[in-house]
């Protein structure tokens, strides 16, 4: 990790009609850093992600990516999106394409990479996410966890500078969550810059460099995971964590031992 900021949110406001989804969010993501966004449903975490690559335009404030302002109205937004991988809650694999083609379609249509080179890149990524044998399958033949791993490979195929994860394990069966989280952990260990919306507190605690807690469209607390999880300063954070059954690190590891 360096001190070099790659993604900066400056007082971002986003409204849907009367609802203010983001109410002045400022957050900085440095190169190589893993930041997890946690907080109750509807608190604006996913909206922030969708604003980051301008799938949703912001109403006020600005977002800077790698020194350039992200503007949904300009065609340059496509260059920004090429360099920001995004992983969706419901995978959003393309059902009419094979696993391999799902991964190569970005590089071939957007980066104009040749098919042979794109196939080679895709095969390496499939090996990385442990799905080399599924290259010619269609998404409908894959489990949720497998689909999500393909979706991660699809995003990586664009060789992004940053990865956005929007609740990547929320739609998964409990037994397949682990395989997706370990792929994400590997990415983090390799130095990928990641912004992760998650309800997996254990993942946030172990992998994140920083955790930002959202409530009602604002970042109410931000800090290193051990601070947030063991020593949250804001009452609302403690409240949220205890509703999840999280009573500090010690308690979590005790309950884990009991499960084992």
């Amino acid at each position: 990790m360096t001190d070099d900021p790659i993604l900066i949110f400056e007082s971002v406001v986003k409204r849907y009609g009367d609802l203010t989804a983001l109410d002045g969010v400022s957050l900085t993501l440095r190169r190589g850093e893993v930041v997890c966004l946690i907080g109750p449903s509807g608190s604006g975490k996913s909206t922030l992600l969708r604003c980051a690559n301008a799938l949703d335009p912001v109403d006020e404030g600005r977002i800077r990516f790698d020194g350039h302002e992200v503007k949904s109205t300009e065609s340059s937004v496509r260059l920004v999106r090429q360099r920001m991988g995004m992983v969706f809650q419901n995978f959003e694999l393309f059902p009419h394409l094979t696993v391999l083609r799902n991964i190569t379609i970005g590089p071939t249509t957007v980066l104009k990479l040749g098919h042979a080179a794109a196939d080679e890149r895709a095969k390496k990524l499939l090996a990385k996410v442990g799905l080399s044998d599924k290259a010619l399958s269609y998404p409908s033949a894959l489990s949720g966890g497998q689909q999500q791993r393909v979706a991660i490979a699809r995003a990586l195929a664009m060789e992004p500078a940053l990865m956005l994860f929007d609740e990547p394990t929320s739609a998964l069966d409990p037994e397949t969550i682990g395989e997706v989280l370990s792929v994400m952990k590997t990415l983090a260990d390799e130095g990928m810059t990641m912004l992760v919306v998650t309800h997996e507190m254990d993942f946030a605690r172990r992998v994140a460099d920083r955790v930002a807690v959202f409530d009602k469209g604002r970042v109410i607390e931000e800090g290193a995971p051990q601070e947030i999880f063991t020593n949250a300063r804001v009452a609302r954070t403690r409240d949220f964590l205890s509703h999840l059954g999280w009573h500090g690190e010690g308690a979590a590891s005790v309950s884990k031992r009991e499960e084992a």
Binding site: R78, E92, H96, I105, V110, A155, M158
Partner: protein
């Protein structure tokens, strides 16, 4: 009733040529209709309010005017607009294609709208332009989902080519009429023509159904 297939045997090269014309007219009007339908359907879905209103008028007029009238107008009235005559086959293909295009566009539009919004977002998130996303991600899924309806429209295109007989396109029904008139054997000839249409259309309908059953899972995001 005695049955005499002699007239069919005698004039089979003439009738075979007519059958080929039916296939040609159907194929080209289907091609034209699908090209129009995909473009109009996509523009009405993604092209904004103005395109939607203008093209909506085209679709509604095609649905409000009988195909027979469109064909007759294209062949007899349209040449007066452009100042020179057009041959019957061209007029037939254009008229049938324009008519079919309206129905195809509505089917395509329904298909495009049915694809989950997040599929578009996933494509855009890869850096695709809206056009690339529609062409490579949304449209293929829409077409797969709409295969049964599009297959029916193909069958209708073949059947409707018979209406082009009124503007003297030398297709199967028209040429059958000629032979039937000359030989006074309407029963044999029209029955043969009927069988020909059935043989063309039935496998098409069944084939598309079978294809859909094999491909349906590829369209369900």
């Amino acid at each position: 009733m005695d049955i005499n297939i002699q007239p069919i045997l005698q004039s089979w090269p003439f009738l075979l040529k007519a059958l080929m014309m039916t296939i040609l007219v159907s194929a080209l009007s289907t091609l034209l209709g699908f090209a129009i339908g995909v473009i109009v359907g996509a523009l009405r879905t993604y092209g904004g309010r103005f395109a939607n209103i203008v093209l909506g008028f085209y679709v509604d007029s095609m649905r409000a005017i009988p195909l027979l009238v469109i064909l007759v107008w294209t062949f007899f009235a349209f040449p007066l607009v452009i100042g020179h005559s057009i041959n019957a086959v061209t007029a037939g293909i254009v008229g049938l294609g324009l008519h079919l295009g309206a129905y195809v566009s509505e089917t395509i539009r329904a298909g495009l709208t049915s694809v989950r919004r997040n599929q578009m977002q996933a494509a855009l998130a890869l850096g695709m332009s809206p056009f690339q996303a529609i062409r490579t991600i949304i449209l293929p899924q829409a077409v797969i989902r709409m295969l049964p309806a599009l297959g029916s429209l193909c069958v209708i295109a073949i059947k409707d080519s018979a209406i082009a007989s009124v503007i003297a396109v030398p297709e199967l029904l028209r040429q059958t009429q000629i032979v039937a008139g000359k030989t006074f054997r309407p029963f044999e000839l029209y029955t043969a023509a009927m069988l020909c249409y059935f043989i063309l259309c039935y496998p098409m309908a069944r084939g598309v159904d079978r294809l859909y059953r094999r491909l349906a899972h590829l369209g369900s995001s």
